[in-house]
């Protein structure tokens, strides 16, 4: 681990100088800096250069086939992300929320889950959705404005995208409490829940309350925080003066920082955490140290608040390249494999474009449908009045 001094910004007039007794605020939070390493506690099993390294607490036995599968997942979901981003630029989507750079964090976490586990996403979890068997086409309607997510959350065990920051953390805590009340926790067949949120969300009261609730009810819940260093324009030091994983200690459960650009480490740590939870040793916080390579959304302009140097440095830590290097070095994959993955990505991209451009607008009745499970006669009357009004235009030019 480098010394904190190395991470201090060269702004001599902007901040009070450090003394031996009192470090600068920037030194205190040094472990958080987006431009730097994750620190000594970072769990890593595959370096950015594709070197397999050992960790004293976490390891994973992975076969060639499994690693090829993870590689394929990451390539495909990156293609989905780039295609959707392009579809927004072409006016086919109102907005897109890029996951670029977070493929390993999401594929590693998602592939650690069992079918019987439950997941509560935020709104950038396209990679998690992929691992839950949700066709990426089902994500498009949310951003095109034709629906608000069409998958069956119960069948897929993947909650709808939650857009209000942090709300889903409490919902996940409640679900995990239910798993415990149902007697589904305590052995290797147990169930667990995963909850996904970002570094910005850690400032929300709901996330704090979620930590408290899951802790006091011993809920089988893995809090999976993707620290992508930026909450739109605000760096992580606007959310915390402590590395985020260290917060868990204050709530009474373990916190682990994993290299979120290392799919092997993320998979290993998340599997361990889920197993702890299903055996009744939850909750656990995982901070996946990663980087949002693209904008917050297609409406955002990151050049206003961060330096391109930072981006260039994180490009060297690309989550996909290191796996490719390792696969080649191990002779676990040949060029035919990589070509087939590219072909699959091309096909998936084509499917997305085709699907998106042909998505019909929902009918006007959709405004009123399913507001209530048991109906509301006043709303029915309002709907009928509106539809009657609309029908007055039928066939007419206007």
């Amino acid at each position: 681990m480098s010394s904190p001094e190395q991470w201090t910004h060269p702004e001599p007039d902007a901040a009070p100088a450090a003394t031996a007794a009192k470090p600068t605020a920037e030194q205190v939070i040094a472990g958080l800096r987006a431009t730097d390493e994750g620190g000594a506690d970072l769990v890593q099993l595959l370096t950015p250069e594709g070197e397999r390294v050992q960790h004293p607490d976490f390891d994973i036995d992975i076969t060639a086939e499994e690693l090829r599968g993870l590689y394929r997942d990451m390539v495909l979901i990156r293609r989905v992300d780039r295609e959707a981003n392009a579809l927004q630029r072409k006016g086919q989507l109102g907005i897109w929320v890029p996951l670029l750079g977070q493929e390993a964090a999401q594929i590693g976490a998602g592939r650690a889950m069992r079918q019987t586990d439950m997941a509560f996403p935020s709104y950038r979890e396209h990679g998690i959705a992929w691992t839950r068997g949700i066709n990426p086409t089902e994500l498009l309607g949310i951003f095109r404005g034709t629906d608000q997510g069409t998958w069956d959350p119960v069948e897929k065990r993947f909650h709808p995208y939650t857009i209000v920051i942090g709300n889903q953390v409490l919902n996940a805590a409640g679900y995990a409490m239910g798993q415990k009340f149902d007697g589904k926790v305590g052995d290797d067949e147990g169930e667990a829940t995963m909850c996904f949120f970002g570094d910005g969300a850690t400032s929300q009261g709901d996330v704090h309350e979620g930590f408290v609730w899951a802790a006091v009810y011993d809920a089988p819940l893995v809090f999976f925080c993707q620290n992508n260093q930026w909450a739109i324009s605000e760096p992580t030091e606007r959310q915390s003066r402590l590395p985020l994983y260290q917060r868990a200690r204050g709530y009474g459960f373990p916190g682990i920082r994993v290299d979120g650009n290392d799919v092997l480490a993320t998979l290993a740590v998340t599997k361990w955490a889920l197993d702890e939870c299903r055996h009744g040793n939850g909750p656990i916080l995982i901070e996946a140290f990663t980087y949002r390579m693209d904008a917050h959304t297609t409406s955002d302009d990151p050049t206003r608040y961060r330096l391109s140097d930072e981006l260039e440095m994180w490009k060297l830590k690309d989550p996909i390249e290191r796996v490719k290097v390792y696969l080649v070095r191990q002779q676990w994959a040949d060029s035919a494999f990589f070509e087939s993955v590219e072909a699959d990505a091309d096909e998936l991209g084509e499917e997305l474009r085709e699907f998106c451009t042909n998505m019909p607008d929902p009918p006007a009745e959709r405004i009123f449908s399913n507001v209530y499970a048991e109906g509301n006669p006043n709303l029915d009357a309002q709907r009928d009045e509106f539809l009657d009004y609309v029908s007055g235009f039928a066939g007419g030019e206007h």
Binding site: N171, A173, N378
Partner: protein, 341 residues
């Protein structure tokens, strides 16, 4: 998930079917009956277990149903509502107690953003059978935040249903019907009337939950009220009768959806309407009733619809609440103005 049907014929049938109960006891018995009828019904709230709630509405329930069905929760309202959402997805039917009206706002985000919208967002794939019990209204000499009437916020939010009981029989049945409902229900309890008594027939067949009810028939003017103001309105009608004025009194019971058919029918006969509520008047339930009645009963009205409400201020220090809260005299004053129009 299909909600198990509640078998009312066997649910906690007491020795004598007709008893005189307080609203507080009737709610307690209603909750007990719901818990006995369906093992998925759970209670969540602050101090509701060992203590039985600060108003004792959940008295004895934790002792009989255990800590896993009657949860003394951490002291966090967003946590209560937010985890109830997750439990509901898991198949439970949570009944959340908010200790006092003014403490619901930390949970407001979860109520409006998740509880109200998940059914719509998923187009029916997720149901939210959550009841949020709120002791509301003033008149108990309390400190700030303990006397508020926040019902309009929730009636304004699509996806929620909002009801208020005014007497022990309704308290007993409406709480069970709310728990049976697959939609989220905000259940407003008139805290200053908790210890008023009335007859409850636990073998009766209750009417529908989302219906208003004419409690007293009259011919000269119509009073509409809900929750704690129903008693005030009935008292006003009694007083008016002594002066020869016949007032019809309607208990709204449901604030969302509003059931105004009995109100329209009444106003078409009396031509005059006074709406009584503790909540501030602007953009309120009372305002909505006034708007709808003028739309539906325009040619029947002999006078403008009048509102007797709390003022458009924060709830005042309690030494001033007698002036703040609508009382019999203010109701009758409004009736006089309506009749003299």
């Amino acid at each position: 998930m299909a909600a198990p049907t509640m078998d009312r014929s066997t649910a906690a049938a007491p020795a004598t079917p007709v008893q005189t109960l307080t609203i507080s006891k009737a709610l307690n018995m209603g909750l007990r009956a719901a818990m006995e009828a369906n093992p998925k019904v759970i209670m969540m709230g602050e101090d509701i277990g060992k203590l039985g709630g600060v108003f004792r509405i959940t008295d004895g329930l934790q002792k009989d149903f255990g800590e896993q069905r009657v949860l003394d929760t951490p002291l966090a309202e967003s946590g209560i509502i937010g985890t109830a959402v997750g439990l509901a997805i898991r198949g439970y039917r949570p009944v959340c107690e908010i200790q006092f009206d003014g403490f619901i706002f930390p949970g407001f985000d979860q109520i409006v953003s998740q509880v109200a919208k998940l059914h719509y967002r998923t187009q029916g794939k997720i149901k939210m059978p959550i009841v949020i019990r709120v002791p509301f209204g003033g008149g108990i000499g309390a400190v700030e935040h303990h006397s508020e009437s926040p019902e309009s916020y929730f009636a304004h939010t699509a996806g929620l249903k909002v009801v208020s009981c005014s007497n022990p029989a309704d308290a007993y049945w409406m709480i069970q019907q709310a728990i049976d409902c697959d939609d989220p229900v905000l259940f407003f309890e008139p805290k200053r009337r908790y210890y008023e008594k009335g007859e409850v027939d636990t073998t009766a067949t209750p009417g529908p939950l989302f219906e208003s009810r004419v409690l007293r028939q009259g011919t000269d003017a119509t009073l509409v009220a809900y929750g704690p103001m129903v008693r005030t309105s009935l008292d006003a009608a009694n007083a008016a009768a002594e002066d020869g004025t016949s007032l019809e009194v309607i208990d709204l019971r449901t604030l969302s959806p509003l059931d105004l058919a009995p109100v329209y029918e009444s106003v078409r006969r009396t031509g005059r309407l006074v709406v009584v509520s503790e909540a501030p008047s602007e953009s309120s339930i009372a305002s909505e009733i006034a708007a709808k009645v003028q739309q539906e009963c325009f040619y029947s009205l002999q006078a403008p619809v009048l509102r007797v409400t709390g003022f458009d201020t924060p709830y005042p220090p309690s030494k001033l609440e007698e002036e703040f809260l609508p009382d019999l005299d203010r109701v009758l004053h409004a009736v006089d103005r309506s009749l003299a129009w």
